[in-house]
């Protein structure tokens, strides 16, 4: 980069190289647009790839194998004590992440997308400056895909507590670990450290873990958690965190009953906030709504017509796959295609053990919205494949319209449901009925048969369970 300032015209500027931004850039380039991608970090891929989805799944996979091996002892597997080599695990995680970030760079460079590293800030509706004027870009269209960052615990602002990103680096395996937050990140990381040998205490503010999932789905997973975690505290608020010896003392308020927990490390996983406060959006006419989110229409267009926003900075679940879909919609709109984000379902997946996934209408939403539904629930204990794996803890349930049998929502908990949820999402996008799921041949023996079976239960014609008369 030349010293001093450099002003450049760009057809499209994409800010952020996460699963929203890099997908938008690639699709735009493939549609014939000249794209400049601005990314603050040296590495591409965003939080998802560098310190979120990907490294967490690397660790979850290894711990799952360890847990399965221990479980298999009773099935006849001879194996000694399962232990983990942290140095190797770090190296393996790093190599997976490196491979993918380099892959993203290659995909971008092969398409001639210019990558500018630095922090983007808006100068006005048509201009951004990078790193305070190192580069100035005048654009025709802009896509904001800056994602979100971890919330910090206000009561422990100055202490070096772990965030999920810190925990993923595996600095150590603390003897005792307090995880603040019983949402999906807290649970996934808590289970990883429990598997690695920490005695984990979960502290959750609301009345149960994983409040976003229906209680019957969460319940199956919570049962497992009760075995793996030292303690689970719900309806508990962290009042203060203080240094205590080599570790910390966490004071928890549980229904006005105070308790202090001594621990070696604290992992804070209390949600994320959108990266919209550091973009100098005040220099534009972009409208900000609640929680610092950017207001967009169903074309992901902000209140400034040539600026779009996607992913965690706009409404909806903060999920990589939602950002990627929005990225493609926006790219097509900028290329004058008649596109729209009209998806019927955004699947949610929690990589706990067992996994939980849901798509479309949940039972809770149905009750809130007063939607009538017919429920078909199929327990995995009635499924051959689940028995062969010794994993009968789980179920698939289908919500359907009582009059037309249209599939309205699907929830599942059990092994491999993170993979199976896509069939259910396709069913929702296609407007499938129970019959469509019932007559589709599902291979035997697989966990996926449970979708067909649940549809049969809902339709009142299940083969593999005895219906209560």
């Amino acid at each position: 980069m030349v010293m001093g300032s450099l002003t450049q015209d760009a057809e499209v500027v994409v800010i952020g190289a996460g699963p929203g931004g890099y997908v938008a850039a690639i699709r735009l380039a493939d549609l014939g647009k000249e794209v400049v991608l601005v990314e603050e970090s040296e590495d591409l891929g965003g939080v998802c790839l560098r310190e979120g989805c990907i490294p967490s799944k690397v660790l979850i996979n290894v711990v799952d194998i360890g847990n399965s091996a221990v479980d298999a002892k009773k099935m006849g597997l001879n194996i000694g004590e399962v232990s983990y080599d942290l140095a190797k695990l770090r190296k393996w995680t790093g190599s997976v992440v490196d491979g993918l970030t380099k892959g993203v760079r290659l995909l971008l460079e092969k398409r001639g997308i210019e990558i500018v590293h630095g922090r983007a800030q808006f100068v006005n509706n048509n201009t951004i400056s990078v790193d305070g004027g190192k580069v100035t870009l005048n654009y025709k269209h802009c896509v904001i895909a800056t994602g979100s960052r971890i919330n910090e615990l206000p009561t422990a602002y100055d202490l070096p507590l772990w965030s999920s990103a810190d925990a993923l680096k595996l600095p150590e395996v603390p003897k005792r670990l307090v995880v603040v937050g019983g949402g999906y990140i807290g649970l996934e990381m808590g289970l990883v450290y429990a598997g690695l040998g920490s005695k984990v205490t979960i502290v959750e503010f609301s009345e149960r873990l994983l409040l976003g999932a229906d209680p019957d789905l969460a319940g199956v997973m919570i049962k497992q958690c009760e075995q793996r975690f030292e303690r689970i505290l719900v309806e508990s608020r962290v009042e203060k965190v203080e240094e205590s010896g080599d570790g910390y003392a966490v004071t928890v308020d549980h229904n006005s009953k105070k308790e202090t927990i001594e621990t070696d490390q604290v992992l804070v996983a209390i949600g994320r906030k959108p990266n919209t406060d550091n973009l100098s959006l005040e220099n534009t006419d972009i409208k900000i709504i609640e929680h610092g989110l950017i207001d967009v229409d169903n074309h992901n267009r902000t209140s400034v017509p040539n600026i779009y926003a996607i992913g965690d900075v706009v409404r909806g679940p903060a999920l990589a796959h939602k950002a990627s879909r929005e990225a493609k919609v926006v790219a097509e709109i900028i290329a004058n295609h008649n596109a729209e984000f009209d998806n019927r379902a955004i699947p949610a997946v929690v990589f706990t053990d067992p996994e939980i996934a849901w798509t479309g209408l949940t039972e809770r939403e149905a009750h809130e919205q007063g939607v009538n539904y017919k429920l078909g629930k199929f327990p995995l204990r009635a499924l051959g494949r689940a028995r062969t794996m010794g994993r009968t803890d789980g179920m698939v349930k289908i919500l359907s319209d009582p009059e037309t049998n249209l599939v309205l929502g699907v929830g599942m908990v059990g092994p491999h449901v993170s993979e199976m949820i896509s069939e259910a999402t396709l069913a929702l996008e296609m407007g499938a009925t129970l019959e469509d799921l019932m007559v589709t041949i599902h291979p035997h023996p697989t966990i996926s048969e449970s979708i067909m079976e649940a549809a049969e239960v809902a339709a009142g014609s299940a083969v593999h369970i005895v219906a209560p008369k």
Partner: protein, 442 residues
């Protein structure tokens, strides 16, 4: 939630182009606040909001075409959810069209569109995309698939206009059962447009041969395309051609203009031609008539509203001089100037663009020795003037120089025959050749 459909914009207007939205999603709006500006082929209109509340969705961006009956905006008025208008209710709206006389429309009568709640209709992503591309609001379609799933065919049927109004298949069956003559007639009318040997094939890939640029058919261009196709396919055109000796008239016009120097506009030949044509139409009323092919009737109009084709930046516009027979040459001349200016700068009333009974088109100022104009459907004839020029002609056995005006008259051979038309054109020519004859009829 209140869904507002684009109201009836006036007789014969089915669609309009979005000029400007006065609101955006998320705005709070009061009843009667301006909502949208729409340009029809007749004029630009501002439509006020029939309700107060928060704007939830807007349909169409600037430049998009919206159809009458499309849901153009949904407003959260705090009254719960409501979607999908039923067919009957759509008809109610048709029966109470909003008047277009005033440019601002009152849209309050469309409240009848409020109906039951519903979630998005079941339809596959590819079907939803097709609907978007064809400009069909998929959420008002009651699909023919299982559980009301909207199929690709349903969307194509709606888009082709072959399905009845809202295409509720059940309602459609009911309509046929009840022998709803109106619905059946509409169906039959559409079916009859299948003309043997008429092939409308997809365009070849022109881009293979060289660079191309694609422009959407919009606004006036699109309206002209509709009108001209209808005119040329429906009306058996015959063109009669002749020349008028306007030497004397031109002399008279120039003398008058010289006398009137500095006192307003100059006379062109046009007001004189209008006078001569109206005299002709009075003698041959068939050319001031219209033929209704469905009812098999000829409608003779006892008034003379003269359309004058004007070449504007936006395309061809035909302002109409109402009751032209009751105006003198000076009044006609002033009116022509006023309407032509209005048409050129887009500042013209809807009323001045409709109701014509006959049209004059004058290519003379640009040039040409004669042309066959297309009739302005549903009129019966159009007269085309080319350039008046000095020509050698034979008078009393000698070659003299006279100013000759080429005239062509395209007429509907279903209504009139060549001999009468030749007589009428001869009459027009006689009046134009002899200003004194014309004078007697003023």
């Amino acid at each position: 939630m209140f869904e507002f459909k684009l109201p009836d914009l006036g007789e014969g207007i089915h669609e309009g182009e979005v000029l400007k939205w006065h609101v955006k999603v998320g705005d709070t709006i009061k009843e009667d606040d301006p909502l949208i500006e729409i340009e029809t082929d007749k004029a630009a209109v501002t439509i006020p909001s029939p309700r107060g509340g928060i704007i939830m969705t807007l349909k169409g961006e600037v430049g998009d075409i919206l159809n009458v009956g499309d849901v153009i905006v949904t407003i959260d008025d705090g009254n719960g959810v409501s979607v999908a208008p039923t067919e009957t209710k759509t008809e109610e709206v048709v029966e109470t069209p909003v008047k277009v006389e005033a440019l601002a429309l009152s849209a309050k009568k469309v409240e009848a569109l409020e109906v039951e709640s519903g979630r998005p209709v079941p339809a596959a992503p590819a079907t939803r995309r097709l609907a978007r591309e064809l400009g069909v609001n998929i959420n008002i379609i009651k699909g023919t698939g299982p559980a009301g799933r909207v199929t690709l065919e349903d969307v194509k049927l709606i888009a082709s206009g072959e399905a009845l109004a809202v295409a509720d298949q059940a309602a459609k069956a009911e309509a046929v059962e009840k022998d709803d003559s109106c619905a059946v007639a509409e169906f039959a009318a559409h079916a009859s447009t299948a003309i043997p040997f008429l092939d409308i094939d997809p365009m070849p890939d022109f881009a293979k041969e060289g660079p191309i640029e694609i422009e959407k058919l919009r606004s006036i261009r699109r309206k002209v395309a509709h009108k001209m196709t209808t005119s040329k396919i429906l009306i058996p055109h015959v063109v009669h051609m002749d020349e008028a000796d306007v030497t004397e008239l031109d002399k008279f016009r120039r003398e008058e203009n010289a006398l009137r120097e500095g006192q307003g506009g100059k006379f062109t030949l046009l007001p004189f031609v209008i006078k001569a044509v109206i005299a002709g139409l009075k003698e041959y009323p068939a050319l001031n008539a219209s033929l209704d092919p469905l009812k098999e009737e000829i409608i003779y109009k006892k008034y003379y509203n003269m359309g004058v084709a004007v070449d504007s930046d936006r395309g061809l516009i035909v302002p109409v001089i109402k009751n032209a027979d009751q105006k003198n040459i000076i009044q006609l001349s002033d009116k022509i100037v006023e309407l032509a200016e209005g048409a050129r700068n887009g500042n013209i009333n809807v009323a001045d663009l409709s109701g014509g009974t006959f049209t004059i088109t004058n290519i003379g100022p640009i040039g040409g020795t004669g042309f066959a104009a297309a009739i302005n459907y549903p009129e019966a004839a159009i007269i085309g003037l080319a350039r008046a020029q000095d020509k050698p002609v034979v008078r009393d056995g000698e070659i003299v120089i006279r100013k000759m005006l080429p005239i062509s008259l395209s007429f509907d051979h279903r209504i009139a025959d060549g001999a009468d038309v030749a007589r009428m054109v001869s009459g027009i020519i006689k009046r134009l050749s002899d200003p004194y004859t014309l004078l007697l009829e003023i």
